[in-house]
Symmetry: C2
Subunit: 154 residues, 2 copies
DNA sequence: CGAAAAGGTCAACAACGTTGACGTATTCTG
DNA sequence: CAGAATACGTCAACGTTGTTGACCTTTTCG
């Protein structure tokens, strides 16, 4: 447990590391804030957001695939899914190849909402990248990729 | 609502912005993973972590201050607080100036755990920064600060 | 002394997700 | 073709968390 005083000059000191964590939080909060408010205004939650997000990127996704992707039970998925359908944001249609499967896709309105949510996030990222400059952007990506490498990257 | 097709060359394209969001998630997950496991092994939750974290940075904090800081009710705080106390990770002592106030501080063991948790995160950050280089680190900070600026920075 | 502040605690709720158990089409297979 | 398996849907019982409300104690302060 001894605080090994590495004589080798570290690239980042403790203060910087602490700041890294703090800044990470604030940044995340900033990026999530607006989308969250928009969702809440419609009585939607993060689960709905996740659904919209994945369906937007993989139109025609089946309920089962979505379930696996989000790692939740079908029961947990069922309610939000129907609410989105009721609100006319998504559509469920039997698959041609297999009538048991229900393919999910966004309606025009659903795509619009998803775009708005994503757009809010993009705005913040774009602004930050623009303000920081292309070089900083490159550095940011590099660091983030390194960090992400430690997890179960997709 | 119209997707304004800006002809002005953006510093980041849609693909990059999408990636930014994804990478952000993975990075966060990576940084949280280990601490979470350590906590879970002791039957502790994120709330406990948050408490340890703030108390570590502000020793002698009062229950009320902590409550305000974490933005939860005293009832929600009470249970985790006592569990931490029972596990000998924190100590509650009456304040000299005001016997109504209970000052919270980490015990040696508590500080040790907090240090371990923080240490795990620092390890990842340090590794990422080291691998990415000082320049990338600088860029990373710049972008993160810009992003965080949009939120209620502390 | 009496009001106010800092805490603690019991109890009723509400949100969210989980497991378990069935029920219904639909497709696949021996 | 009959039965097993698949993809979903749904009712129900829980467990976890955090919230609000009400009440009580100790301590401070006008």
């Amino acid at each position: 447990m001894s605080a090994k005083k590495t004589t080798a000059k570290p690239i980042a000191d403790t203060a910087a590391l602490n700041e890294a964590w703090r800044v990470m939080h604030f940044a995340l909060r900033a990026v999530i804030a607006e989308p969250d408010r928009i969702l809440a205004a419609r009585g939607l939650t993060r689960m709905h957001h996740r659904i919209l997000f994945f369906v937007a990127h993989t139109p025609g996704m089946s309920v089962g695939e979505l379930q696996t992707t989000l790692d939740v039970t079908k029961q947990a998925l069922n309610a939000p899914l129907r609410q989105l359908q009721t609100q006319g944001l998504i559509e469920l249609a039997k698959a041609d190849h297999d009538a048991r499967v229900r393919e999910i896709r966004l309606t025009t309105e659903g795509a619009s909402l998803e775009g708005k949510l994503t757009g809010e996030q993009h705005k913040l990222f774009a602004a930050a990248f623009a303000a920081a400059g292309a070089e900083a952007h490159e550095g940011w990506r590099t660091v983030m990729r390194e960090l992400a490498r430690g997890a179960g990257m997709a």
